[in-house]
């Protein structure tokens, strides 16, 4: 049985937190660049240029892309034949987050308690999801999620009879309600099916798929494109000042659901769609 020590995981998590905050993924950068060519509002084009320049400054000066360096989501895939050694995996992830945020001069944005609101000081704890997968590998994705966009999340428990039209209407209404707040151009994650909580998780995970990669199911890919066109028809544009590009992409993920339900969840990311993955190479 292969063994992986938690200290290595903590060290890698610290690096992932910093890199995610400084380096916009190439697919996002190229989507912003493409948006600049599609946008015909002069103000919108100027903003898209600023965002590309911002990404350049962040990468070269090692300054965060955005001051909201987020609450950390960690998506962990652990092979069922792997032995994690040296301590608690969950604690190691949080140790890595604390170290990454301290060493990277990232903002501590997490409060101990939602009502008492005292800052934890090191951006811990992360929100961690574990998947047990076949094999003996290990992979972790760190996604710092800002709350300008997270606050725009929507969940609807539709009737099955509402079908595709209901889903479309719900997603559009959620993005319309969000307006300028989630820092458009946005990426829109849509989760369909499962239970309420599963739909929300699907919506979040949908944001991790590369922006230039449609859903492999042609019907869902068509829905993604249809939603994107409709959202861009809302006219918000970059920063909500008006324009053609409100969404860089819409990603839909689905899961089987109950005969009585049609859960639909919408999770939005700002244009600073940050995530970074480490796959253990066995060393």
């Amino acid at each position: 049985m292969r063994e992986l020590g938690v200290d290595l995981i903590a060290a890698r998590v610290a690096v992932l937190c910093r890199e995610a905050s400084f380096d916009l993924p190439p697919d996002v950068l190229s989507a912003l660049d493409k948006a600049g060519q599609q946008e015909d509002s002069p103000t919108g084009r100027r903003i898209l240029n600023e965002l590309c320049a911002n990404a350049g400054i962040a990468a070269s000066e090692r300054v965060p892309l955005c001051q909201d360096t987020g609450m950390v989501l960690a998506f962990v895939e652990v092979g069922q034949d792997l032995h994690i050694t040296g301590g608690s995996l969950g604690e190691a992830i949080n140790r890595g987050v604390a170290r990454g945020y301290r060493d990277g001069y990232l903002r501590a944005s997490v409060v101990v308690d939602p009502l008492r609101r005292v800052n934890t000081g090191d951006n811990t704890p992360a929100v961690v999801y574990y998947d047990i997968v076949p094999g003996d590998g290990f992979r972790i994705t760190i996604m710092p999620k800002g709350f300008g966009s997270e606050n725009c999340t929507a969940l609807g428990m539709l009737k099955p009879a509402e079908g595709l039209a209901g889903v479309r209407q719900f997603v559009l209404a959620a993005v319309d309600r969000a307006g300028a707040n989630p820092c458009p151009p946005v990426a829109v994650g849509v989760g369909l099916g499962g239970t309420a909580d599963k739909a929300l998780l699907l919506a979040k995970k949908a944001l991790l798929r590369p922006l230039d990669e449609p859903n492999p199911d042609p019907e869902l890919a068509a829905l993604e494109n249809d939603l994107k066109v409709a959202i861009n028809g809302l006219g918000y544009g970059p920063e909500g000042f008006g324009g053609r590009v409100t969404a860089l992409a819409v990603h839909v993920e689905t899961y089987p659901t109950h005969i009585a339900g049609l859960p639909v969840a919408v999770n939005i990311s700002c244009h600073a769609l940050r995530h970074k993955t480490w796959t253990w190479d066995g060393q």
Partner: protein, 190 residues
């Protein structure tokens, strides 16, 4: 169209009055940084008839919670946060004498009415351009509420800080006017 107006901060009521929605400005001078928790404390102080830790009459507040300054920098990333979260606090601050706000995102009808009533102005900086805007902040200092960390009350010296007039003193709102021109009716998009 791409002409920028250079203004010094703080600016007087006359300057606030001539700024027009959609104009781009480059702001230099002194502004104060405050967001959710600092606003809560402002409101508590005003409710008790106490002075604010800094006289904010005639001043500009920037809604920001910066990242810590790495060595050699005045401040880390420092872009605007969502203005709407401060909606409940803003009318009383404008009545108290605040001249302007820099943030991002639309404001409530009550805030817009208070902007008009008090001859103030709402400027929007580019959300998510924290690294770029950081370069325009030359000095940063916590002046009160140190215990709030990033949510403290800050004093910034800025130079050519780019913003756009989003809601002017006549209440013209770029967040309505801008998208309206690009909005297709749902009927058309179906």
């Amino acid at each position: 169209m791409d002409e920028c107006i250079r203004i010094r901060s703080p600016f007087d009521a006359a300057t606030a009055g001539v700024l027009q929605t959609g104009q781009q400005v480059l702001l230099s001078g002194v502004i104060f940084g405050a967001r959710d928790q600092a606003h809560r404390r402002f409101a508590e102080a005003l409710a008790r008839g106490r002075d604010l830790p800094v006289d904010l009459r005639g001043q500009i507040i920037y809604y920001v919670g910066p990242t810590p300054a790495p060595p050699g920098r005045a401040i880390g990333a420092a872009g605007p946060t969502t203005g709407g979260r401060m909606d409940t606090f803003t009318p009383q601050l404008l009545a108290y004498g605040l001249r302007g706000i820099i943030a991002k995102g639309n404001r409530s009808p009550e805030v817009i009415a208070a902007i008009v009533q008090n001859g103030a102005v709402y400027l929007a900086a580019t959300g998510g351009a924290g690294a770029l805007l950081s370069r325009c902040i030359k000095e940063a200092q916590v002046v009160a509420y140190q215990d709030l960390g990033t949510e403290a009350l800050w004093r910034f010296v800025i130079e050519d800080f780019p913003a756009i007039v989003a809601i002017d003193s006549r209440g013209r709102n770029l967040y309505q006017i801008g998208p309206a021109g690009y909005r297709q009716s749902h009927a058309n998009s179906r």
